[in-house]
Symmetry: C2
Subunit: 261 residues, 2 copies
């Protein structure tokens, strides 16, 4: 009996349809410029066998599954998570366009986490075998993937610090700063307006090791203090300096410059 079947909360609400379409040459557009080989979108375009559309709420792949593929997010938001037997869920990371998902040393190693789409999403499907060929032959591709992997690792380290050693208020503040930065980095700009933010408070809670109820109270407090605007799938940081101070970091600290911009 699988862990998922035993789960108490059912986190996969919506219909599980996800389409696979053959790629016509040039299907995924390159959202940003790049040094050809070093650009993850260029690599995806070159190596992809398919392009897959995943409806919001549907799974790209699930813990325990095996597959010969790895994926590059072209569009949309997804999240990585694990669900314990009794239904507790830990969100491990969020994936935005440019994110690389599902790398494994061997194709027969099962995935150790589930990836679910937060919004309708589009991902390039890359056969591991094809990738390994390219890596052995050598190209900037190795560097791009290594960079992506380490970016994920740093994100995980930030998350670890939030979970282990920050209070709910500090963690939520830090989380919002991180998400804000990632959104702006992907170039999904919406200027100085509030930005699309498809997470529910339950998603935030499951990412930060809190309950949705407590996230709600924490956000209310941050809102009351005039630090953020939040609600209904959008949020806006009103006072970045002050929010960073709440998170316990200093934006101008030469030692922690990562969230500065």
């Amino acid at each position: 009996m699988s862990a998922t079947q035993l789960s108490v909360k059912n986190h996969s609400k919506s219909s599980e349809h996800s389409k696979v379409i053959r790629l016509h040459r040039s299907a995924p557009q390159a959202p940003t410029t790049g040094d050809r080989d070093r650009d993850i979108f260029a690599i995806a375009r070159r190596l992809a066998s398919d392009c897959r559309l995943v409806a919001g709420g549907a799974e790209l792949f699930a813990e325990g599954e095996r597959s010969d593929n790895l994926y590059v997010v072209l569009d949309g938001w997804l999240f990585l998570h694990r669900i314990l037997e009794d239904g507790r869920r830990q969100i491990l990371d969020f994936a935005l366009p440019g994110g690389v998902l599902g790398y494994r040393a061997h194709a027969d190693t099962p995935f150790s986490f589930t990836v679910e789409a937060l919004t309708d999403a589009k991902v390039a499907v890359i056969p591991l075998s094809r990738l390994k060929d390219l890596l052995l032959r050598g190209s900037g591709c190795a560097v791009a993937l290594l960079d992506a992997a380490h970016e994920s690792l740093l994100e995980a380290f930030d998350n670890l610090t939030d979970l282990g050693r920050r209070t709910a208020r500090e963690a939520v503040a830090h989380f919002l700063l991180r998400m804000d930065r990632r959104i702006r980095r992907t170039g999904v700009r919406s200027d100085d307006a509030v930005m699309p933010f498809p997470l529910t408070q339950e998603h935030m809670g499951d990412a930060l090791g809190l309950t949705a109820v407590h996230v709600c109270r924490t956000l209310r407090a941050l809102r009351a203090d005039g630090l953020v605007e939040a609600g209904r799938g959008r949020f806006k940081i009103l006072d970045r300096e002050a929010l960073a101070a709440e998170a316990g970091i200093f934006l101008d600290d030469p030692y922690d410059t990562r969230l500065a911009s």
Copy 2:
């Protein structure tokens, strides 16, 4: 003023001496067999400019520092951590022989965490520039590094789950299983005897987001239930099955086979 200077607890107790010695050809021995290119020790041997000895308690590098190097652990234990302004410490991961530390996309990006040696340790020093050359030319090296990066990521994900969604008892049980597996994997075997385990309860607490006091109580309980023997730099799992059950995983679950071995 750096974060480290403001820290309340000083975690770097011992003398900070760390020696750099020129490598004579063949200095680091290869602890395990490998497919030349794919073996991280072989790569370290080939690319290392130096071999550095770090005394237990000394730092290999610190958050905020810049360096052109990345490191491969040849011998000993180290740990990655961050310290918040008020002294709270989060341990991000432990590094055993074969571990890769300090990769960054650009040599001018400062380290975002500190690495301190837990025991006297020996690390190969690899210039990032030399590595990038090799990656562009292509070799199994890329695959080995990518695999190492993803292993770290999975370790971080496990840690994340412990911190966010497991109780102290579950987290400690899971942590011990993971460390046990990693120790056995590195081949630092000591047969069926108790194995060397240089972590203090404070290290465990800082890795799991708990206080040392609570780790102590939790270990006492696990000991009382006959699941582990622990103390004084050693520990032994007495009942792997039962400990896994405490951790909320099933060793024979096809979906979670990672700790079975």
